[in-house]
Symmetry: C2
Subunit: 248 residues, 2 copies
């Protein structure tokens, strides 16, 4: 069935079930193979990609709605979610819906609340739902063209991540439980969009006293086995409460 | 006329003019006499205080609506405004409107978008509108009890201000054009909620190279006249772009 037909079929129920004016778009970040990725969807019959999103039930809180939307899309539960901005431009979706009837739910004016989500890459099984024909992880350095204002929403999410690096558990949420110092540094470099000095990074990170070094280094590989670390969640949370003190 | 009657009178027009589901609440900060103040309103016939707020026109963008609401309330133009969070709790206003008809515009479920505003205290002339019987500056350390979730909105605004101190022009927007180093330090201490060492503060602040020292010290007073400074806006903005590097 075409996307148009599917929207039309769903319009009546959407009018009854959802809060008017408010939609949700999610920028889902995952870290894998030394690169930061974002989960994108391509709706049926569309050339452009979009962020996973949806609407908010009349009796639902905003964050619960975002968690539900992401759970349907990824299978993951207890996803780290943070709202970061409302996007309210007039005619955000005018072009997209120009061939639709004015009474269509989806064609109304929506303010969209942007959430960023941090997931453990391996926990996610991207789901292609009835409205879409693709749902994939994409490296943030090779993003395809996106529909409506979704690129702007993505850009803002990344800037927010950068600014919140010192007071949200971003490393903890994106990395697997055990990781090496170079892996942690790589994540910071991608989010901050700059190279960091290895010695300084090591010194600052250990200075914060938020990591536990494991007794056993990582097995395998020809070189000297690298040390493994894991976040000490109690200490990490305590340190983030006042914010880590130094810039990068 | 009673508040109830006024709401009832305005309900029909509000249904026609505004975006459903979305309201705006503003936390307006001003700095005066070495204390940080917030602008509060007391609606007619109400014991509790509230944040100045309102609704968003169908053809209006969010920030423009917040600017309009604040202009009506303060007379000030070009106010520094920053949205910081959407508050979406169910039944936020249920108690407040329990004696009203269910069809009343104001009784519907609203998600409210919190904005903080930074104003030059002397630019503001608080306006008591038809719905309220008080509109006053209150020291943030002696806040009265507030209605609905307005205290939670205020608290979140203050935390946001604290976290954005290194990358938003907060000092510039709150201080008069010319100020002394102790005045700037006092503002930082209030926002950060901690005492700062005078020598360290001076060293860091001058190290950022964002202030111009005036040739003439402040006139009057028995003591040695203190030096006056003003933000160098070009340098300040350039430095904030990447974020000031050190914690406080």
């Amino acid at each position: 069935m075409s996307l148009k037909k599917l929207f039309e079929e769903r319009s009546d129920i959407a009018w009854k079930a959802n809060m008017p004016s408010v939609s949700i778009d999610c920028v889902v970040f995952g870290f894998h193979d030394s690169s930061l990725k974002v989960l994108l969807v391509r709706l049926k019959d569309q050339p452009l990609w979009s962020l996973p999103g949806g609407y908010m039930g009349k009796k639902e809180e905003l964050k619960d709605a975002a968690a539900r939307i992401l759970n349907e899309r990824t299978g993951a539960e207890n996803i780290y979610l943070q709202q970061f901005k409302v996007f309210s431009k007039l005619n955000r979706s005018e072009d997209f819906f120009k061939d639709y009837d004015d009474t269509l739910w989806h064609k109304q004016r929506f303010l969209t609340v942007g959430f960023y989500a941090l997931v453990n890459y391996t926990d996610v099984e991207p789901v292609i739902d009835e409205l879409s024909d693709a749902c994939e992880w994409v490296d943030i350095n090779t993003l395809p063209e996106m529909m409506m204002d979704h690129r702007e929403i993505f850009d803002k999410a990344l800037v927010t991540l950068r600014r919140q690096l010192n007071y949200k558990p971003i490393g903890y949420s994106l990395l697997p439980e055990e990781f090496t110092m170079p892996e942690l540094q790589k994540l910071y470099e991608i989010i901050l969009d700059k190279k960091l000095n290895r010695g300084n990074f090591y010194r600052k990170m250990t200075g914060y006293d938020i990591l536990d070094k494991l007794d056993e280094p990582r097995k395998g590989g020809a070189h000297k086995a690298p040390n493994l670390y894991r976040f000490n969640l109690d200490k990490y949370k305590a340190a983030l409460k006042d914010g880590l003190k130094e810039g990068w």
